[in-house]
């Protein structure tokens, strides 16, 4: 399509009281403006959530405009301030994605400002015309193909995942942290539905998305049922049927990942990298950063900065004498896409990452994120993405160095002489039960002088999931689960809860922020990643 013929499609969310009225006035005043805009009336700009904007981009909108009342004039007092907050957050995310600034705009337009509405549209259409069509636009004939996700039938899935071996004994259900709380859900009931031939029922069952994939069930199943794998694959059938469960944050994270998968833009994911860190284009070790640059805009309110973990991990690697390669165009590993049934997006991401890594010619990949690690290690080969690299979690690397090279740490400087900092440890599902790595992080914790590890009541393979996985199932039960887990951590009398998973930390911090109506007991404890604890305990470079 030649640029001259390109007519952008702009989606405008206009608030009922001001902006939409302004558009109305523009019309009745016979003010000409380009017909490229599709106005969607909302009661207040404050209700325009990030996922609406990213959703519009996914649908192929070339530009998105959010228009509301001027600050101070909002019909609902402060709705437009919320709009601003959400919009800024979204812009930071689209910024990392590399989407052009001009495509997504926010403008305050009062009722009387009909001409301003027209002018805004005119300007936006001009600018977007210059940028060209949105790369997220799919030709119509490809849109249907997007739905052809899963090549499997329910029968295939039952065979592949050992689900046919279910004894119907129910042992899984009281081990399932969700089933214990939500009595309308249980692994064995879901399996029962699939086996007895209620194939369709299970696909449309909202409870299909309750599973955390934490593996508490399969660890003890006397049959050979791999329930998380079964559930993951059935979700792909559900996805094809248009079911997506009730994702957290309105599905925004999933939307971002889908955009990332199809994006031709150059990401701005390495803004955090500065001269304090050493990387090398020649290294045969890759440090996989994954999607951590994307989370900070979203989770700032909880005090969580995912990049803290990334930075600390890189510092640790440098300290260990590794100046790793960092790829400026790597993408999300695809974990969340896969676990919500979006196999197509997962494959896209996996293909991209695999190609990039192969071209980079590295021999080893180090992860700070257990989900990335697990996905590369267990899922990529399943879908034919072979990497021929050694994969390792940073805790494993540290444990190795402690054992083989006698790596030592110094005690935390603020400690009063003679006292020990009590810490406790949350085994992330993806590192623990999925990969069997329980000892490495503990070895690291024990090697830090002045630190005492006190185990929670449920630890190692008994560890309880942080309550949400793949941003899919954040509900009352997850909040309850999280709170109980935090109480368990408190009961150890540890000062700090250490995890080695950014997601666990995110979810715990969110629970402590106590958003939502479920006012359970207020638990507060410091939550920190293992990498951050270690980075403070690294001996000074001069000692080497």
């Amino acid at each position: 399509m030649r640029m001259a013929e390109f007519e952008p499609r702009i989606i405008a969310f206009a608030c009922n009281w001001c902006a939409y009225a302004a558009a109305d006035i523009a019309g009745t005043s016979r003010i000409h403006y380009p017909p490229n805009v599709r106005v969607i009336r909302v009661m207040c700009s404050g209700m325009v959530a990030p996922e609406h904007i990213s959703g519009a981009l996914e649908s192929g909108a070339d530009g998105v405009l959010v228009a509301g009342c001027h600050p101070g004039d909002c019909h609902y007092i402060s709705g437009n301030l919320k709009a601003e907050e959400k919009f800024q957050m979204l812009k930071r995310v689209t910024g990392v994605l590399g989407i052009e600034d001009e495509r997504v705009k926010l403008k305050w337009i009062a009722t009387s400002e009909g001409p301003i509405f027209a002018q805004t549209i005119e300007e936006m259409v001009e600018e977007v015309k210059k940028l060209g069509p949105s790369p997220f636009k799919l030709p119509r004939e490809f849109q249907e193909l997007e739905q052809g996700n899963s090549a499997l039938t329910l029968e295939d899935i039952v065979q592949e995942t050992g689900t046919y071996s279910c004894l119907d004994c129910g042992k899984c259900s009281s081990l399932c942290p969700i089933a214990e709380r939500d009595h309308a859900y249980s692994p064995f009931m879901m399996v029962g539905k699939a086996l007895v031939g209620f194939g369709d029922e299970i696909i449309h069952d909202k409870k299909l998305f309750s599973c955390l994939g934490c593996y508490a069930c399969s660890l003890r199943c006397p049959g050979d049922v791999d329930y998380p794998a079964f559930m993951q694959k059935v979700r792909s059938l559900a996805f094809d049927a248009g079911e997506q469960g009730d994702p957290a944050h309105g599905g925004f994270l999933h939307s971002v990942i889908r955009l990332m998968a199809r994006s031709p833009y150059k990401q701005k994911r390495l803004e955090w990298l500065n001269e304090n860190y050493r990387t090398s284009d020649q290294s045969d070790v890759l440090f996989f950063v994954g999607c951590s640059p994307y989370f900070d805009p979203l989770f700032k309110y909880t005090g969580m900065r995912t990049l803290n973990i990334t930075e600390a991990s890189l510092k640790i690697l440098n300290h260990l004498g590794i100046d790793p390669m960092i790829l400026p165009d790597e993408r999300c590993c695809g974990h969340d896409a896969l676990w919500t049934g979006d196999v197509e997006t997962f494959k896209r991401l996996a293909e991209h990452n695999t190609k990039l890594i192969k071209e980079a010619g590295v021999k080893k990949i180090i992860f700070s994120c257990p989900e990335g690690y697990r996905t590369f290690k267990l899922e990529y080969p399943n879908y034919g993405f072979e990497l021929d690299c050694e994969l390792q979690h940073i805790s494993e690397l540290l444990a190795e160095r402690i054992e083989k090279d006698g790596l030592k740490f110094k005690a935390c400087p603020e400690r009063i002489e003679g006292t020990k900092k009590k810490v406790t440890y949350q085994d992330p599902c993806r590192l623990g039960r999925h990969l069997g790595i329980y000892d490495a992080p503990r070895k690291v914790l024990e090697a830090i002088p002045g630190t005492e590890l006190v185990e929670m009541e449920h630890n190692r393979e008994w560890s309880i999931c942080c309550g949400t996985s793949a941003f899919t199932n954040c509900d009352f039960y997850s909040h309850e689960l999280r709170t109980e887990r935090l109480l368990e951590a408190k009961a150890t009398q540890a000062e700090t809860l250490i995890t080695s998973c950014s997601k666990c930390q995110m979810h715990f911090k969110c629970a402590m922020n106590n958003r939502g109506e479920e006012k359970g007991p207020d638990v507060q404890i410091e939550v920190m990643d293992l990498a951050n604890l270690v980075v403070n305990a690294l001996e000074d470079e001069s000692h080497e």
Binding site: S165, L167, D168, C169, G170, K171, C172, S173, S174, L175, C176, A179, E180, H183, S186, F188, M189, R220, C221, P222, G223, D224, W462
Partner: protein
């Protein structure tokens, strides 16, 4: 061709096989590793489905076996080496030293009373104690004491500083002068025409099932331990008591089935007898205490023998046993050391918890630890679960001519089946010998 037969294993199957062979005129050597014949059946309180006193029906058989002119009972003995073939096996048997002269000992029990050393009692599954000088159990056959060389201080600690032998209390009190610290292990060479293997089973240690807390929680016990507790000859004289500090009477008992059986992560097979023995134990608990409520958590109820289904129905109707279909997921403990059972009632579709006073794990039953080694000595095969391998349509045949199998060591089965198979194995052994040529 001689007409002697070796029976390895002195449990109910071995005893039955020995009898059948002896009655046919064969000379039988009954070799038993432990100090007495009787085996697992001697450890049970009652047997299903009749609730007969186990030792009461077994002990007369044990006594007759010992008295039979054609049977030579060799207890505290092990088969060490086998050469030759059917019709002419040369067997080296190690007869371990009891340090007690079998011909002189009257089984009076004085030495066991006066011995100062206490040791955990294996016959009572480690609950309760015995002495270093002991009788294996109350009804032991042969009724001869023995001294545990691993714990007797005269042996383990050697002479005192002055060079005098230590202790010797048993020597002093034995009126028959049967104690003999000079006694040595004996190696016997037997020449037999055929062998019958009947070494039975061991209970599976449920410690790897960490979800059940065995070893961590005092009030989670195995079925075999429970049998010893309710048995009058056991460590609590038959009082149904908890083993935790408070030692109070349990009123709510959970029987957890398939603990380590029908489980790909432990033992894939079904142990065959647990559904029935749990029913029995639940019935007996109510007989011990009319206030007891028993709950059996099952995967399936396997009650396929004669009278078995009726037995289970009786348990529900007359003894108030509640059967819940759901394999227990995990067991916690509350602050009073009461086990809390987490399960799914699969018929109601409900995820539940239940606080009880005592949990009895129906652990899987596995071939004896020594089975693979014995298989090597005899030249027979074990399967993937360590049961002795046999042909599908001739289960008493081991594949090696002249060596026959019966009982649990061949595959899971109950007492009636073991005894039947023992007679079958005896007959197969007899077939080998010329018809009608009895001495």
């Amino acid at each position: 061709m001689n007409n002697s037969v070796l029976v390895i294993g002195g449990g109910v199957a071995g005893i039955q096989a020995s009898f059948d062979l002896a009655e046919m005129g064969f000379k039988v050597y009954l070799v038993e590793k432990s100090p007495s014949i009787g085996g697992r059946m001697a450890q049970l309180d009652k047997t299903f489905p009749t609730n007969d006193c186990s030792i009461c029906i077994l002990a007369p058989k044990m006594a007759d076996c010992n008295d039979h002119p054609n049977i030579e009972v060799l207890t505290y003995s092990e088969v060490k080496e086998v050469t030759g073939g059917a019709g002419d096996f040369k067997v080296k048997v190690l007869k371990k030293a009891r340090l007690v002269d079998e011909k002189k000992c009257t089984g009076c029990g004085e030495c066991t009373e006066k011995c100062p050393i206490k040791v955990p009692d294996e016959f009572n599954m480690g609950l309760g104690t015995r002495k270093a000088a002991y009788l294996y159990f109350l009804q032991a056959i042969p009724r001869v004491a023995l001294i545990d060389q691993a714990h007797c201080v005269r042996i383990t600690r050697g002479p005192t500083k002055d060079g005098k032998p230590r202790c010797g209390v048993c020597l002093d009190v034995c009126q028959a002068g049967a104690i003999d610290f000079e006694q040595k292990d004996e190696e016997l060479e037997l020449n037999v025409g055929a062998m019958v293997v009947a070494i039975g089973f061991d209970p599976y240690d449920p410690s790897p099932l960490t979800e059940y807390g065995y070893g961590r929680f005092k009030n989670v016990v195995t079925a075999m331990e429970f049998e010893r507790v309710i048995c009058a000859s056991g460590p609590t004289q038959g009082h149904l008591k908890r083993l935790s500090q408070d030692g109070r009477d349990p009123k709510r008992i959970a029987f957890v089935q398939c603990a380590g059986s029908r489980d790909v992560k432990h033992n894939k097979y079904c142990a065959a007898v647990c559904c029935m023995h749990a029913t029995k134990e639940a019935i007996l608990s109510r007989e011990h205490d009319p206030e007891v409520q028993s709950f059996v958590f099952y995967t399936d109820i396997r009650a396929s023998g004669k009278g078995f289904q009726d037995y289970v129905a009786r348990a529900e109707r007359e003894y108030g046993v509640t059967y819940i279909r759901g394999r227990v997921s995990k067991i916690d403990e509350d602050s009073d050391e009461n086990p809390v059972v987490h399960y799914t009632d699969t018929l109601a579709g409900e995820v539940e918890t239940m606080q009880v006073d005592l949990v009895v794990l129906a652990t899987c039953l596995v071939p004896r630890k020594g089975a693979p080694e014995l298989a090597r000595i005899l030249g027979i095969q074990v399967d993937e679960n360590k049961f002795f391998q046999s042909a599908t349509f001739s289960p008493t045949e081991s594949g090696v001519p002249g060596i026959f199998l019966c009982g649990y060591c061949q595959s899971p089965k109950d007492i009636p089946e073991s005894v039947t198979e023992a007679s079958a194995a005896a007959m197969k052994a007899a077939e080998l010998f010329n018809q009608g040529q009895f001495p």
